[in-house]
Point group: none
Chain length 93, copies 2
DNA sequence: AGAGATTAGGGTAATTGGGGCT
DNA sequence: TATGTCCCAATTACCCTAATCT
């Protein structure tokens, strides 16, 4: 499965998540998402990683993506830090 | 694969339904509406799904029948471990 | 060499998440 | 049961200028 070594720009990732490019930069700075830096300091993100985050890496059930949405919320929501970053502290009070 | 689903913020969905963003969050927590979480924990909703809900295509079991008796009988909206009865079908034309 | 658009960086306001209560 | 409002903490969005990428 070549999920792509394709690199995405912060603007692309931001559009995918419907967030600000600056927010994507914060994710990289916080270690929540892997980033590759250009010699100039700009960041590039792997499309495979971004897509995994979008769908929810924990639940890959939906192969066919059609008009049929199936909101099956089984189990705990995907932990934000879930992946590589561990990032451990979130709001828990 | 792109069904043309833009992602909406909780505030956007709340404005569409004329409810509080908190209510939209509860819908997502209850599994009544699909939600995508950002690495930061915030939710994003698919515009296509929201539109389907707005049109009423998502709730075909609740028609205007039952004039006075609508005891909302033992029908747990989201039984634990059970598939969320709510939503799940979307009309396809 | 130029130009344009995007991105990084800091700072501040607005939104969101979660729990509890009316 | 379902919404709305309160709290506080975290995340996100928009402001700016300078540097980098195409």
């Amino acid at each position: 499965m070549d999920t792509g070594d394709r690199l995405l720009t912060p603007g692309e990732v931001a559009a995918l998540f419907r967030v600000d490019p600056k927010t994507v930069t914060r994710w990289a700075a916080a270690g929540r998402i892997g980033s590759i830096r250009t010699p100039g300091g700009h960041r590039r993100f792997r499309e495979s990683e971004v897509r995994a985050l979008l769908e929810g890496e924990g639940v890959l059930d939906e192969l066919e993506e059609g008009p049929e949405n199936r909101p099956r919320n089984a189990g705990p929501a995907n932990p934000p830090g879930g992946g590589p970053a561990g990032a451990g502290h979130m709001g828990l009070h």
